[in-house]
Amino acid sequence: MYKYILKRLLLMIPVLIGISFVIFLIMSFMPGNPARLLLGEKATPAAVEKLTEELGLNDPFFFRYYSYMKNVLQGNFGISYRTGMPVIYEIRARFPTTLKLAFFSIIIAIIVGIPIGILSAVKQYSFIDTLSTVLSMGFISVPPFWLGLLLIILFSLKLGWVPSYGSDSLKHFILPALTSSACSFATLLRMTRSTILEVIRQDYIKTAYAKGASKPRVIFIHTLRNALIPLITVIGINFGNMLGGSIITESVFGMSGLGNLLVLSIRSKDVPSVMASTLLLATLFGIVNLIVDLAYAFIDPRIKFHYR
């Protein structure tokens, strides 16, 4: 098992290198000179030229990439072109917000989505089922930024229950978490429903009934655990999507997280910040995927057997 984890972690390395290369390449095509941004409009051309040289921006692409990666391997993510401070400071400060947001959202999605999904699977074709289908479709279709704005209009402006802005207390996380959980709640609901319906059709569920097991027992002991396996993937994918979706949510709610940083950095061609945040997000994504796979093994003995 440990060997497997190690193998997976090692496999992440080429992916991360690939990602860093792709992003570095894209960023290098972006117009604009970071040195000028760093120094401001009023700086003299000489000073800009000097800084350009210092930052190595005149070097050939591959050399720049090489030296960047060398620094990264030494734990040095560089100096942000936008703020002039080490990138790591800003990321350290912003990362918890994004993680918290994603975590709260996924918790909301799980707490709401899975039970409703079970209910609508158990009561297939009932009113509840139709309602939850239409509702979940609605949530999948709603633009997250718009939902955010509507929530702000309703709960902050009209009712004044929660603050619309910022990220410093739990209260501030309510609306953003609701917003970004909307889509994953809906997908989770639909997945729960369909996997449970799938599992219920299996022969071993018939066997369980034939043993004399009651319906709740069959659903909670036999069905749910088997259905959990595909659900974990969905949760994992949603967690990843949420990290990506944080770009939108954070900008609507003005939260100082990684997503916000990414937009800011891309806009100001702040290559080191973009690289560091992308790599962080991708690593996180990889780790979430790994956890998902390990959770599989935990739940599904067939897979665990495979890993040995």
Binding site: L149, L150, G244, I247, L281
Partner: protein, 298 residues
């Protein structure tokens, strides 16, 4: 005597045999799904009215400012009121359907074709080629697609075409994966083996036997993605990286309305509703197609 009876049964059997092609079968199933029908209706109305408005109203009227009439409420002349530039919000939203749907259709078609080619090659040939392609897809999948699209737009610059390209590129791996897995699952089926034993060429096997049988999940995915693409396009425009004002794209209209959101919430609600309903319609159709194409029903 018994011969006649036998014939009687046979004639009954003929009635029973549904002389329907696969397409008709799927469509008849689709039209039984009320939500899907509602989706198709809504989309058709959107498409027709957005085309019609091009003939009825001059595009200049749609984008030209009229600051004296700005921020008017809902009235007979301005069904949805006017925006911060005094433009007719209703016209803008209806016209916006053109842009959003165009971006949606073209980029989904593009990523289906490109992703399809890559995925089919990986799925059919397998082996080292597959591994290499998969590594590339892994890399792109590990970057959140919104981020990827933002990066591409930042490089290419804003505008409808670039937005379209960005979304298309960002969606390719998704389609490649679906094509790959469907091709792989169909590739080993007995009828493909039968085709090979019949001496069919690789080309014929892929295009006549494998791909038609992969179409189900792909059509579903494409329809569902249509909604997703419209959402992404609107999101990018919303954060100022997509279509540029005054083009009446829904995300743009929303951003412009956001400033007046407090006093004139309709400026935000109407464009948002337009996006949501369109995406919802796509999802209903996609869902209906999924059910209609479900092999378990057959």
């Amino acid at each position: 005597m018994s011969k006649k009876l036998y014939d009687g049964l046979e004639s009954k059997e003929i009635n029973r045999i549904k002389k329907k092609s696969q397409v008709q079968f799927v469509l008849s199933h689709l039209f039984k799904n009320r939500l899907a029908v509602a989706g198709i209706l809504f989309l058709s109305i959107m498409i027709i009215s957005s085309i019609a408005i091009g003939f009825l109203v001059d595009y200049k009227v749609i984008v030209k400012h009229d600051l004296r009439n700005k921020l008017l409420g809902v009235s007979a002349r301005y069904w949805f009121g006017t925006d911060g530039f005094g433009r007719n919000l209703f016209y803008r939203i209806i016209y916006g359907a053109r842009i959003s749907l165009m971006i949606g259709f073209v980029s989904v078609a593009g990523s289906t074709v490109l992703g399809g080619t890559i995925g089919s090659i990986a799925g059919y040939y397998g082996g080292k080629l597959d591994i290499i392609i998969m590594r590339f897809i892994d890399i792109q999948m590990a970057i959140p697609s919104t981020l990827f699209a933002i990066c591409i737009v930042s490089v290419l610059g804003t505008g409808i075409t670039n937005l379209l390209l960005a979304i298309m590129i960002a969606d390719i791996p998704q389609f490649a994966l679906i094509f790959r897995s469907s091709v792989m699952s169909v590739k080993n089926s007995e009828f493909v083996e039968a085709a090979r034993s019949n001496g069919c060429s690789t080309y014929r096997i892929i295009f006549r036997h494998i791909l038609p049988n992969c179409m189900g999940p792909i059509i579903v995915q494409a329809t569902l993605n249509l909604g997703g693409v419209i959402l992404t396009a609107a999101s990018l425009s919303f954060i100022g990286l997509g279509v540029m004002p005054p083009t009446p794209e829904w995300g743009v209209i929303l951003t412009e309305g956001q400033e007046y959101m407090r006093d004139f919430p309709t400026l935000v609600i109407f464009p948002g509703l337009a996006i949501m309903l369109t995406v919802l319609a796509c999802n209903f159709i996609g869902d209906g197609l999924r059910d209609a194409l479900d092999p378990k029903l057959k």
